[in-house]
């Protein structure tokens, strides 16, 4: 078996495998051809096998017919040998046997199966031995049958047969011939067994002829298969050439050449493939365009995004290097965007951002590039301009922004922005540094009071300052961890009495040079990086501690603490406040919690719940920076506050702006009507203080009233006698 398996593997399996593979890969043409040739060979083999077995069957059938005829003849020829001493009969028998070469020999047996004699006996095949009992019985049974003989053949050698037939006589009944009836002849017959005749047949001639024919058929089949394989291979290659033609276009497509052209195919199936490939190329092109759009543009505004803007900036840097001109990078940050986002939700914020983007595009030249960096940050590349042109562009943007009024939910919002300017000049051409410089300048503008521009000015220590600026987060983290924040206490005085009613607790971040950094510089970063809540809790803890420290000498100390929206996101706020108050024996009624107008207006349910619990604790609430974001006074009626702190923007130009005066009067009147006291921020001088008093404001805060100090001090306001009289008269 192993040898056979080796031979099959070596001579069939291995050549077939080599035929099907080329360069280690399966070849479609060869596989199809192999299947077809194999199928044809299989069918041919079956046909030849059928031919062989069919031929054998036909031959055997003919053998049977001849055998019947010969048996009858031999029966007839042999009978005289049994009955009469007829030498001529023997000669006739021998002649008969000689006449048919297929007859190898004839043997005669007696009734009891005894071998009597043989005739012919070519090749010694004659039956020279007596017949067995079972064969005798079987042979007797066929007497009178239509096939009165037994024929046996060798399965391995089907050309050879052996026939055994009984030899018998028949006679008619005595009375049969006197009243002969042809219809009843057989019934009138009587038989008498004489013996048996055995015939050995070998149809070698016919068998050899059949085999020769089959060999010829096999040869023809093999030739046809070879011709078929040759022609089939050519036909298949021709039919599949359309697929091969797709190879180069597909390779081009894989390289990203989406404009590749596919040759039209003749065959329907391949034409479908070509069509599918063209559709794929088109879809890939559309997808690439979409991805490119997404990669380069801001999805909300359609402006370039930071990545694309950086590329444009790099191009401009190269242009500046080559041509020697200068350009400017403006970093634009919206000032009060957070309020709108918090108050009206992100959809409203998104609408505002789109409007700002449109305004920015309208504010610059066509060749200038406007991009959105994310959130409320934008950048503008003003090409081929000097510092004056850059400032002019920035001023133009500021002016347009001031005029921009955004209406949301029946409320009108005025959006201001701060702009930082960095110049692209011959010695300042690194895009990262340029963006950083513009960002720093923008923060400086914010620090300076927002709604303005600042130009980054390069100095020797600018690099160090930038590094320090970039490290805000580390510094805040470090201040929290090392408890290095400092508190300042700014008095808030009653305008009428000039006495300090309470102090607002302010936070300061110590700088390395010993100066204190104002919260406007670091709180945005803290807010962006999620440190606001920790800072709020720091404030609560340390304010409580200060209350415990400073309340004894002053008998009564009331502190106002700023809390951001982040503090209210923490569900433990009330518990934390209560614990701190209890720890430091703080009277909650001496604590005023300041929250921004946006948080007050848009306070979610859980914030409202926390405010209510804090009020139940005894705390009072002040609405900070009122008037900056919301022009609706309707909220004042809805909100439960004890104080309204009027934003400093209304106060700083109060003496020259009658609108601000009317606004403040209005706020004061409405606040009074709602049972709230009003506090004016940013009071810088006595005139403003007097005017605020005349406008009905209850309290004032500002440098004129008292600067922030390390500890809470009772600083009475120096009030003019005329004013005092006026208050007294009014009262």
């Amino acid at each position: 078996m192993k040898v056979v398996a080796d031979v099959l593997r070596r001579w069939i399996a291995e050549p077939v495998r080599r035929f099907r593979y080329a360069d280690g890969k399966r070849v479609l043409v060869h596989e199809i051809l192999w299947i077809q040739v194999f199928s044809a060979a299989l069918i041919g083999a079956l046909a030849i096998a059928s031919l062989y077995w069919g031929g054998q069957w036909v031959l055997q059938d003919n053998y049977g017919r001849w055998a019947l005829q010969w048996t009858e003849e031999l029966n007839e020829l042999g009978s005289p040998l049994f009955l009469a001493d007829d030498d001529e009969a023997l000669l006739r028998l021998e002649s008969f046997v000689q006449r048919y070469p297929e007859i190898q020999g004839v043997s005669y047996f007696g009734k009891d199966g005894t071998a009597l004699f043989s005739v012919g006996d070519r090749d010694g095949m004659g039956l020279t031995h007596d017949l067995g009992k079972s064969r005798l019985e079987d042979a007797v049974k066929v007497i009178g049958d239509k096939k009165p003989y037994l024929m046996s053949s060798d399965f391995i050698n089907p050309r050879q047969f052996e026939i055994l037939a009984p030899v018998w006589t028949e006679s008619m009944a005595e009375s049969g011939l006197f009243d002969f009836d042809p219809e009843r002849m057989d019934a009138q017959t009587r038989t008498e067994l004489l013996g048996f005749v055995g015939i050995q047949l070998d149809f070698v001639i016919f068998h050899d002829r059949l085999l020769a024919n089959i060999k010829g058929a096999i040869l023809i089949l093999l030739i046809l298969l070879m011709v078929f394989a040759f022609l089939g291979r050519r036909a298949l290659r021709r039919a599949l050439s359309s697929i091969s033609d797709l190879q180069d276009p597909i390779r081009e497509l894989a390289k990203g050449n989406l404009g590749v052209k596919f040759q039209p195919a003749e065959h329907r199936e391949i034409s479908d493939i070509v069509e599918a490939l063209e559709t794929t190329a088109t879809a890939l092109g559309e997808r690439d365009a979409k991805l490119l759009e997404m990669a380069n543009h801001d999805s909300l505004t359609g402006l370039f995004n930071r990545r694309r803007f950086t590329e444009e900036l790099k191009k401009e840097i190269i242009s500046v290097m080559r041509k020697g001109h200068s350009s400017a990078l403006l970093f634009v940050d919206l000032d009060q965007f957070k309020y709108i986002n918090d108050a009206c939700g992100h959809p409203a914020g998104d609408r505002l951002i789109r409007k700002v983007a449109d305004e920015l595009v309208r504010s610059v030249r066509r060749d200038d590039v406007v991009a959105r960096f994310g959130g409320d940050e934008f950048a503008v590349l003003v090409k081929q301009t000097d510092i004056h042109g850059a400032q002019s562009s920035a001023e133009s943007i500021l002016a347009n922004m001031r005029r921009l009024a955004h209406v949301e939910d029946e409320h009108v919002f005025h959006v201001h922005c701060s702009i930082g300017v960095a110049m692209l000049t011959g010695n300042n051409l690194h895009f990262d540094e340029l963006i950083n410089q513009a960002d720093i300048a923008c923060r400086e503008a914010k620090s300076a009071g927002r709604n303005r521009l600042a130009v980054y000015e390069y100095s020797e220590n600018a690099e160090e300052r930038d590094k320090a600026d970039v490290g805000w987060i580390n510094r805040l983290r470090k201040a929290l961890d090392e408890d290095s924040f400092q508190m300042r206490f700014q008095p808030i005085n009653d305008i009428r009495t000039g006495e300090t009613t309470h102090h607002e607790v302010l936070i300061r971040l110590p700088a390395e040079d010993g100066t204190l950094v104002l919260p406007d510089a670091f709180l945005p970063s803290a807010m962006r990086f999620g440190l606001m809540s920790e800072i709020d809790f720091w404030m609560i803890e340390h304010a409580a501690r200060a209350y415990a420290e400073y309340s004894e000498p002053m008998r009564r100390l009331r502190l106002s603490i700023n809390l951001s929206a982040n503090a209210f996101e923490n569900d433990n706020l009330v518990d934390h406040v209560a614990a701190a108050f209890e720890k430091h024996s703080v009277m909650p009624t001496d604590i005023i919690l300041e929250i921004t107008e946006s948080l007050a207006v848009r306070r979610p349910l859980h914030v409202d719940r926390q405010i209510r619990r804090l009020r139940e604790l005894g705390c009072q609430f002040a609405l900070d920076d009122f008037g900056t974001g919301y022009s609706s006074f309707g909220y004042l009626q809805k909100l439960q506050f004890d104080y309204i702190k009027i934003d400093g923007t209304f106060v700083e130009d109060l003496m020259n702006n009658p609108v601000d005066q009317k606004m403040i009067r209005l706020i004061a009147e409405i606040g009074h009507e709602a049972g709230m006291k009003t506090i004016a921020e940013y009071v810088q001088d006595a005139e403003s203080l007097l005017l605020l008093g005349e406008l009905g404001v209850d309290m004032a805060q500002g440098f004129f009233v008292g600067k922030p100090t390390e500890r809470p001090l009772q600083i009475n306001t120096p009030i003019a006698i005329q004013s005092r009289r006026l208050w007294q008269t009014q009262s």
Binding site: N75, E76, L77, S79, P80, L83, A84, A89, V167, T169, E170, S171, M172, A173, E174, S175, G176, L177, F178, D179, F180, D181, P182, M185, D186, Q188, T189, E192, L194
Partner: protein, 312 residues
């Protein structure tokens, strides 16, 4: 089949030659028989006017036997008929009862009846319709027989008239018919016919010898020897004869269906009359003087209309 019935009263007939062929069916026109055959009449002795009562025993009631019995009743006013195939009694009992009866003779028709009568009856027995009487030892002291064949001479005469060219006739018969062969040769010689006789022992042998002789004869005379004939042999012989265009004369009219050209059979009334003559002679003078086998005098000739007649 067109039936030609000719009765030759010890005479012959002149008929066209018959040769079988595979051609279309042809109607045969046969002229009325012309008695040319001269046959020597039986020696007549004075016979009693009234016949004795007889017992007629039939092997069975097949027409060949029953017709004879029927004809006998016309001759014997007093008779008893026994059919061995229908009687509930065994043949021995029947024959013994006959012995006890007043029957003067027993007429046995067929082999079985003849065997029983010859063996048991103590009265004179006349048997008929038995061909191989010698083989069965039917000729005894008290028994005589009637030939089972139509008169040989008449047959050959009629055949010669039908086919005047016939010169060599083959005959195959089993053993025990030496006298018949002698008589046949004599009759043939009389009509200028060479009779080629072959004695065989079986149907195979008959067939074997028939095929050997068929090419050398002008006609084959089939004798009703059941021992050497079989249905297959009959069919083969008649088929071969047809192929070789050799006419075959058969002893039974029904054999014409197998392809024989002419049948020449006995006549029942002739058999009955012959038996009656024998019984009468027995009554008048005993068995002595009566030949063992009495030849018949009449013949019935029928030709096959499906066989083309060819003049030779």
């Amino acid at each position: 089949m067109a039936l030609l019935l000719a009765l030759f009263a010890l005479g012959g007939c002149s008929l066209p030659s018959l040769r079988p062929d595979a051609g279309p069916e042809v109607e045969i026109a046969v002229e009325p028989p012309v008695p040319e055959v001269s046959v020597t009449p039986l020696e007549r002795t004075p016979l009693p006017a009234e016949l004795p009562p007889v017992a007629i025993v039939l092997t069975n009631s097949q027409p060949a036997y029953a017709d004879v019995a029927m004809e006998l009743t016309r001759h014997f006013t007093r008779h008893e008929i026994y059919d061995l195939s229908r009687s509930g009694r065994p043949p021995v009992a029947i024959l013994r009862s006959i012995n006890d009866s007043e029957s003067g003779a027993v007429i046995a028709i067929g082999l079985r009846a003849s065997q029983s009568a010859v063996a048991i009856s103590d009265k004179p027995v006349v048997f008929s319709q038995v061909f191989n009487y010698a083989e069965h030892d039917l000729l005894r002291e008290r028994s005589r027989g009637v030939s089972a064949l139509a008169p040989l001479d008449a047959q050959l005469a009629a055949w010669k008239r039908i086919d005047p060219t016939i010169a060599r006739v083959g005959v195959i018969v089993g053993e025990g018919h030496e006298q018949l062969i002698v008589d046949a040769r004599s009759a043939a010689e009389k009509h200028g016919i060479e009779l080629r006789v072959q004695i065989t022992g079986s149907d195979q042998e008959t067939l074997y010898f028939f095929r050997r002789m068929i090419r050398d004869i002008d006609g084959f005379w089939l004798l009703p020897d059941n021992r050497v004939l079989s249905p297959r042999a009959l069919q083969e012989m008649l088929g071969e004869a047809r192929r070789q265009q050799v006419p075959v004369n058969v002893p039974s009219e029904s054999m014409l269906q197998l392809g024989a050209v002419v049948s020449m059979s006995t006549v029942a009334s002739d058999i009955a009359r012959t038996i009656a003559d024998i019984v009468r002679r027995i009554q008048s003078g005993g068995l002595s003087g009566i030949p063992p086998i009495t030849q018949l005098s009449e013949i019935r000739v029928v030709t096959n209309d499906t066989t083309q007649v060819v003049e030779r």
